[in-house]
Symmetry: C2
Subunit: 219 residues, 2 copies
């Protein structure tokens, strides 16, 4: 399925996997000693293989990024563009990776960048396909709409997860959170996406007029 399964039992890989678990559960402040203990090796060996704690962190990032890139997005058929995050949350095996992922997302950096781009690409495809099939309305600016929806989708699930974490180190049931959130949002989302939110089109028309006839210098 993914490269993490191929005879990947070298000490280096074991340490990396242990690091992903420790970082995910306890945050990036966790000590090299704790990671080494969890991997069943000495602290020295960890540094021997990765050079430094920071490089170990980078190796973890790269490993998860590779996983994101290798995992195909399931066919998007449901009411809302299924996030990659939802997909991975359903796989028991990836529980540790998901925890790491969430923590990495909260601190920003390359991983967040990659996941956002992935989410954006998925949203663009989903929307384009829907428009082509006639089930989704065309947009005056499809790229902007995709960015808006992707940002709201990834952002709100990320916010929700962060919101659930009462105390540091607490185990979070990502699957439960995402399932509950999906049920929570389906009614308002369907409602709004079907019927809209505003009763009048005055604001939209005013804005369209505004941008078609810019008041002051603009390209």
């Amino acid at each position: 399925m993914c490269s993490a399964s191929r005879g990947d039992l070298t000490a280096r890989a074991r340490i990396r996997d242990a690091a992903i678990e420790c970082f995910g559960q306890q945050g990036f402040g966790v000590s090299v000693r704790a990671i080494a203990k969890h991997a069943g090796v000495s602290a020295g060996l960890v540094i021997h293989h990765f050079g430094s704690k920071e490089k170990l962190r980078e190796a973890c990032d790269d490993h998860v990024i590779q996983l994101i890139r290798e995992t195909k997005t399931e066919t998007l058929t449901s009411h809302d563009s299924q996030t990659f995050l939802h997909q991975i949350a359903e796989v028991e095996e990836y529980a540790g990776i998901l925890a790491y992922l969430v923590r990495a997302l909260q601190t920003g950096g390359k991983l967040l960048q990659v996941l956002y781009e992935r989410t954006l690409t998925d949203a663009e495809e989903y929307l384009a396909k829907g428009v082509e099939e006639g089930v989704i309305r065309p947009s005056r600016d499809p790229a902007k709409r995709a960015r808006w929806l992707a940002g709201a989708g990834l952002g709100s699930i990320l916010l929700l997860i962060t919101l659930q974490e009462r105390e540091p180190g607490e185990d979070i049931d990502f699957r439960r959170i995402m399932r509950e959130w999906s049920e929570e949002m389906i009614l308002p989302a369907l409602e709004t996406y079907t019927e809209g939110l505003l009763t009048e089109r005055t604001m939209l028309d005013a804005y369209l007029l505004y941008i078609s006839d810019p008041p002051e210098g603009e390209s």
Copy 2:
């Protein structure tokens, strides 16, 4: 305007303000010594006043929470429910507080809880007022819709800010980010909120039927 201005120049307050700046710019890993240096006092005095680094952190949280509670939400007239975050971002004086706020939001905890509740309350009020005035469509479940919109609003702006932070310690222009985001989202938001996203109401009707006639045991 707010309590932070009343003869608040005691050393304790100076240390607290310095801590907010340091935490905001460099994260919560910043040392007590660095905070003390920034406040122009000794490290011992910091502990003397607050007991521990953690309690200092709590004092910072409480101070920002008080600010959130004291700041009134401006009348919500624009196209979209203006987030409290947007409002504070426009005040030059609060630049340091905003940085702290964002970092606190990313790590979760009490402050995030408070700000989310605030955003939710604002959204509920805004929507209720709009429905009453007839400019916003009534919802089958107003509370759920408010939660959905508040989560998407706060979540996406938080995601966007986190996304902008290339390297740790980098100075972020929150105002620029929020202004650009507002301009980015106004077209897709108005478009979707006015015309909807889906061309057919089959999915909504199917879901409404589904929940009105639950297939298996449900309250």
